[in-house]
């Protein structure tokens, strides 16, 4: 047990140590009785792959790894009793069910196979697919150990990103964007008034808390380096999602130099009807879905081509040879919008 903990603490899963420890403890607890199956749940790009890679590294030959790539049919479900390994690790379990009539048969069959098996199942789930299936099918009752990967805090994110480079390899360039800021900065906000069709620009006072902290009396002053300001901005735009934060970091890094001005935030003005929010919710909870599956979910009442065109046009979806997914930088705004309209429960 102590040896396992050492392995965990020395592994490259920065920010996910606690979660990994919970999983390894659950695996080590497995005795002769009914195994306590494990579900790993996170938002898209929330760090599931990192955890899965680490589990495979730690447990090596004990693990049978089965990643699902697309929505599977009942006949594609393997016979788990013939698998020699004692841990079955199934990645992307969201593909076991589809939100349509008759779309839960595979999941039903899988859950039945899982509870009648003596092997330990470790499954990974998209958080939104998990929420839906838990509400509809009481999915959480099948998994005594549920590990949720939470949003990442800025210091952890900083540590995670900088661990990929040698010390001093990255230069943080202070372009004065933070220094120029005052306690209050006057900005011009675009506001749409109820009676007017066009947006108008209104002067607006913005409080700058970072600068306020710096200007505290010398004794109370908190030293904030340009690095911290940069990572704070990256994490704010990524909304705590480590995958999105890494992408943003990589797209803003120019010749190993990072400055505040090079981090760009894409603005989204989301305006969707019921059909569009529904299809966006489906794409979000499946991460990537083929057009024919979306067509089956939409049914005859909805013009799926028009809905997909609208989503792609607003930058909320992209088409990769028939597979639709949400671009990483649109994830945060899309999730916020769907939560506001209670499409995500």
């Amino acid at each position: 047990m102590a040896e396992d903990q050492r392995t965990v603490s020395g592994c490259p899963v920065i920010g996910l140590e606690k979660e990994l420890q919970k999983i390894t403890e659950a695996i080590d607890r497995v005795g002769s009785g009914a195994p306590a199956h494990i579900a790993i749940v996170s938002e898209p790009m929330g760090g599931r792959t990192t955890i899965v890679t680490e589990i495979r590294r730690i447990y090596g030959e004990r693990v049978h790894y089965l990643p699902l790539e697309f929505v599977i049919s009942p006949s594609c479900l393997p016979d788990f009793s013939t698998i020699p390994e004692d841990i079955i690790l199934i990645d992307n379990c969201r593909f076991l069910a589809l939100r349509r009539m008759g779309g839960f048969e595979v999941l039903d069959a899988f859950l039945h196979a899982q509870i009648s098996s003596k092997k330990l199942f470790i499954t990974t789930w998209n958080a939104f697919a998990w929420q839906y299936l838990s509400a509809v099918m009481n999915l959480d009752a099948y998994f005594p150990t549920i590990v949720t990967l939470d949003k990442m805090d800025t210091p952890v994110l900083k540590q995670m990103i900088l661990s990929r480079y040698k010390p001093g390899e990255i230069r943080f360039f202070d372009d004065g964007a933070a220094q120029r800021s005052m306690f209050f900065s006057l900005i011009h906000k675009k506001i749409r008034l109820p009676l007017m069709a066009n947006e108008i620009s209104l002067p607006w006072i913005k409080l700058n808390f970072t600068v306020m902290l710096r200007r505290l009396p010398r004794k109370k002053r908190i030293q904030i380096s340009i690095e911290d300001v940069i990572f704070e901005k990256i994490n704010r735009i990524a909304r705590g999602n480590p995958g999105v934060a890494i992408l943003l970091w990589e797209s803003s890094l120019k010749e190993n130099t990072m400055s505040l001005a090079s981090i760009h935030e894409t603005p989204y003005a989301i305006d969707l009807d019921t059909n569009e929010t529904f299809i966006l919710t489906i794409i979000l909870s499946m991460k990537s879905l083929h057009e024919k599956d979306l067509d089956a979910i939409a049914g005859s009442e909805m013009d799926i081509q028009r809905v997909l065109y609208r989503l792609v046009q607003q930058g909320l979806a992209r088409d990769d040879t028939g597979y639709y997914s949400i671009p990483p930088f649109a994830l945060g705004p899309a999730i916020e919008y769907l939560k506001k309209t209670k499409r995500l429960w």
Binding site: R99, R100, M101, A135, T274, N275, E301, K342, W345
Partner: protein
């Protein structure tokens, strides 16, 4: 000191007693001239515009705020009441100087006015105040008052405006809440429970029909399911038909009928594929709104 106060009070009282027989003659109404009328008119217009503007802005904000729509709209009636009370106060002090004598005279006149002709209006205003504080329903709720069903669009000082599914605006006097039961389908929430009844032939496979209806419900684009908003599918047996009843919450109460229609349509399409038949006996109308239509289809 106490003696002095007492003698003052006694003095005032004797003045009042003396004034009472000839109250109207002594009412020191200010001279009513064009200026005063303009002033009163000005206050009324300001109050009206202000209350309209406030409710317009708040309604607009609430439409954009998504799930917490009804939290904003619930303060509209209260603000309106406040504006009208302030306006009334300004009008009264513009007309008369509020001393004890005038107040007694005014309340006497007021009482008589209520007794004669304005009692219904007054009852409606009291009803409006009760609605604001007791909140049997709020703006945005789906309610049944008497035999009228619809979304509450406005709670006024005198009447509540309801928009029916047929897009008629019905003004229900606020007094109605004292006399008739009021049913609110969602009680301030945006999600509302919807009951969907489907009737099948007694020889059809009820278990399969329940499974189909359950799937039609949970895969609907309008549904919301969580611990707070559970769903259920129930079976009931009648002599000439079986009733499958689904209960689930619609995401936004304005989509109530779309939700019912979508679930019913998809369930029946699947019923037909599985050989589940409608009953030969049509259940009496009123058992469920959608029932007879389903059977005819």
């Amino acid at each position: 000191m106490a003696d002095a106060l007492l003698s003052n009070v006694t003095g005032e009282l004797s003045n009042v007693t003396a004034a009472l027989p000839n109250v109207t003659a002594e009412l020191p109404l200010k001279t009513i001239d064009a200026n005063l009328i303009l002033y009163i008119l000005f206050i009324v217009v300001i109050a009206y515009v202000l209350s309209w503007l406030l409710s317009f802005i708040l309604m607009h904000v609430s439409e954009r705020i998504g799930w917490y729509r009804t939290s904003i709209t619930m303060i509209i009636p209260l603000l309106k009441l406040l504006i009208y009370l302030v306006a009334l106060y300004y009008i009264v002090i513009a007309l008369i100087e509020p001393s004890l004598t005038q107040m007694i005279a005014f309340s006497g006149l007021f009482g008589a006015a209520i007794g004669f002709g304005l009692k219904d209006l007054f009852a409606d205003i009291v009803g409006g105040v009760v609605i604001i504080f007791e909140k049997p329903y709020q703006i945005g709720d789906m309610v049944t008052i008497g035999d009228k069903y619809g979304e509450v669009k406005d709670i006024g000082i005198r009447a509540t405006r309801i928009q029916t599914p047929g897009d008629e605006t019905v003004s229900v006097p606020n007094f109605t809440i004292f006399a008739q039961p009021v049913t609110s389908g969602n009680a301030g929430d945006l999600a509302m429970m919807i009951v969907i009844d489907l009737f099948i032939h007694p020889d059809s496979d009820a278990e399969k029909a329940m499974k189909i209806l359950r799937e039609a419900l949970v895969t609907s684009k309008y549904v919301i399911i969580s611990k707070k908003y559970p769903y259920t599918v129930l079976l009931d047996d009648f002599p000439f038909y079986k009733r499958i009843r689904a209960k689930g919450y619609v995401n936004d109460l304005r989509l109530e009928f779309e939700f019912k229609s979508e679930v019913t349509r998809r369930a029946w399409a699947e019923f037909k594929k599985e050989g589940i038949r409608p009953p030969s006996f049509v259940p009496p109308a009123g058992t469920s709104n959608g029932a007879s239509e389903d059977v005819e289809a």
